[in-house]
Amino acid sequence: MGPVPTDSSRIRNFCIVAHIDHGKSTLADRMLELTHTVEGREMRAQYLDKMDLERERGITIKAQAVRLLHDGYELNLIDTPGHVDFTYEVSRSLAACEGAVLLVDAAQGLEAQTLANFHLARDAGLTIVPVLNKIDLPAAEPDRRADELAHLLDRDPSDILHVSAKTGEGVPELLRAVVAEVPPPRGEVDAPLQALIFDSAFDTYRGVITYVRVKHGVLPSNARIRMFATGVTSEAEEAGVMAPEATPVDALGPGEVGYLVTGLKDVHQAKVGDTITLAGKAGAVEPLPGYREPRPMVWSGLFPAEGGDYSELREALDKLKLSDSALVYEPETSQALGFGFRVGFLGLLHMDIVRERLEREFDLELISTAPNVEFHVLTDGETIVVHNPAEMPPGGYDAVEEPIVYATVITPAEYLGAVFELCQARRGEMVDMQYLTPERVEVHYVLPLAEIVFDFFDQLKSKTRGYASLDYEPWGFQEAKLVRVDVLLHGEPVDAFSAVVHRDKAYQYGKQMTERLKELIPRQLFDVAIQATIGSKVIARETVKAKRKDVLAKCYGGDITRKRKLLETQKKGKERMRRVGRVDVPQEAFISALRVDETSKAKR
């Protein structure tokens, strides 16, 4: 790593596009070894996946860039998140590259996420280097998968490289192909600085660190910088490259990839997709194209399980926000759950990660309401944006719009019928389909986001015996017949249980919630009616019959102490309950009733 920026003809910037479990991290490990970027004794599996959470879930949520030196070339491997929640982040990582290694499991073949990211990469003008991985597996079908890939790319099957990331076979050839096929970056060294932020992170000691790709100009180590989107200026403290540990350099030249310690204290001032330039007259006039504000797709109310921890939850969210630029939240008061927050997430995975970090890193116990999407309520030419079903007006509006997505499903042809059936049941409209091979089909549907944020993926998996894969991207808003269903306990609405659902599914939701609550609410001293309503119309009803017996039959000399302790336990249990009107509702009832089926939380 010299103090002088590398000649851009000797630079190759590339990423690996792959489905989860297709071997991306293992391939990166082999590349680190082969190029001696990491020496054997320092090597550990999945080297680049640093955060605990990532390693445990087997996915990469933070993009990173690592510099590999190989045969006199500087190869920058830019990692991309591999989940639908992070499509925008993927697109920004791709924008930092000239080439993409399209990595496909030789046993499993193309999956929807890979395909979606491949399309993103191709649309971004990247050179594609197709590779089949896991050729050492007994179940591998390299010839068949090569045909599939060749068909997709309109190339000859002999162009497809064969590697085993596990054994290292074929990886040197792959590195050579990257050098030979991926074009060098083209940037003007004398132009004003334009550096693309493709990731940012918060470090407790050093503040906001951005990962950048210099497009034009030179980024010196101690520059006064300006962010286009936020207009913030700052004294940068250090530029460097990840090799793979952070290594300072004097400057990053055009085409180079590295990190910048920005001197900022809040990740929201250095957003993914934004452009860094120099402050003052030397700065660029225009930002790089493609910046977008992070937009939450899924919302959920988060409440402390034990009342009184509200300020701890607020502090935890404030801290988390420093390192998670996609996290948005606003205070929310629920009659049933007290003070909490309505939190916006990029998707269900993001939601799970945030909730898990809150519980694990901040030791909080939380109740979260069922996730919902954003609705647009149109009245008198005005649009009200609703993030919380309880805020949805019960009526008197002209129309409601809901977000829709463009979904890609890849499935073995034999399950096509099941996929159609599922998508139809979820109010989907088919756009088109095409056979990738005679056995595998790619189907596109436009679907309401609300229909897929819950258990769609599970259903898809179970109806196709695990073979289908899914990807989706936001596709705007669309009018729909949506209604608000409320749940009442003994006549009192419980705001936490309100939901906005399609009219045709309102009865099903109401029935499911009332039946679930009937099992969860303990018998009280009076009959408790559990009703689901649309406006004033009751669509489902259950009754928890009044408790008739709660007494210890025997209470003699030796029983009295035990009996008193039982009463004290019962008393504490009662104190932990939430009161809705006259009804005592245990904490667990909220947690269980609001739980999206456990299975649908599984990693996607």
Partner: protein, 375 residues
Amino acid sequence: MSDHGTLDGAAGGIYVHIPFCLTRCGYCDFNAYEGLDPLKPRYLTALLEEASLAAPGWSGTGFVSVFLGGGTPTTIAPADLRALLAHLRDRFDLVDDAEVTIEANPDTVDEVSLRALREAGFDRLSLGAQSFDPAVLASLERVHQPGSVRAAFAAARAAGYVNLSLDLIYGTEGETLDSWERTVREAIVLAPEHVSAYALTIEPATPLGRQVAAGTRPPPDPDLQADMFELVCELLGEAGYRHYEVSNWARPGYECRHNLGYWERRPYVGLGAGAHSYRDDVRWWNVRPPETYLDRVERGELPIGGSESLDPSDAYLEEVFLRLRILEGVPASWFEEARYGPFVASGLLVDDLGQLVPTERGMLLLNELVLGLTR
């Protein structure tokens, strides 16, 4: 009797625990064992010794009752029981007309043994009938048949007993309301002076409790048990019994003086393995395993296994829940009206000239009453 259980000079009770049983029943979590018969001689000696050790601490307390419970006290020979009672009279200050109860299983007694017990001074007999339905008895793993209850009862009458109690259990698996009605009516036909009727309670640390937890046997249906409770209240009421505690009925004047002591928070001394003692807001208990109990007593020690001292809030809670179990109730002045008013309005409590007394429905929901009043 003062409100907070200060010592009453003439109101104590003596409880003696006999931990031996012919067979152990699946629902029972008492400190009782089968197959320990070889320990009986040592155990009887130890009881006498423990009484001698404990008695000096109780000088000044007059005792109005003795209760031999178990286990199955009648697995001990009447002559030994006579000696035991004589020893208690010798060591403790028992009033002349003290009530002396012994529990018995129908199969362990006959007219001869009952006569011997009666002559020894056991003037009240509590028979563990449980049910008159053979299916219910089998489900409870009781060894006796309905016929032995009637036989034992007749034998007791013949032996001169004029204060007899029957224990009944309801809500066993498979028992219907009809079956329960027949059992209660059979009991009434025998005309005991006293009836105890207990809802079957599933105790976790019993074979039955484990079966219920494992889902191989159903838990009792609380609504059916409530129906059964209401039925027994009705039938015994019609037959002239006074309902004086949640699970106890008696002809006027035949309430169990000993058991009332627990609910009125009078002092009691417990002798034998696992027995509890109480005095002035302090409760202590003996070690439970019979062998450990024997070792301790044979070393000349009081076999105390643990104790607790009730702080004022514990004592208050006990006072409320114990007094609510009996018809005396609790003074309304102990609570704000907002607490008890709704219970009176909904018919769970009756305000009887300033005393809050649970109704039948209230007795069934006693835990709710206690929590609601003291919350």
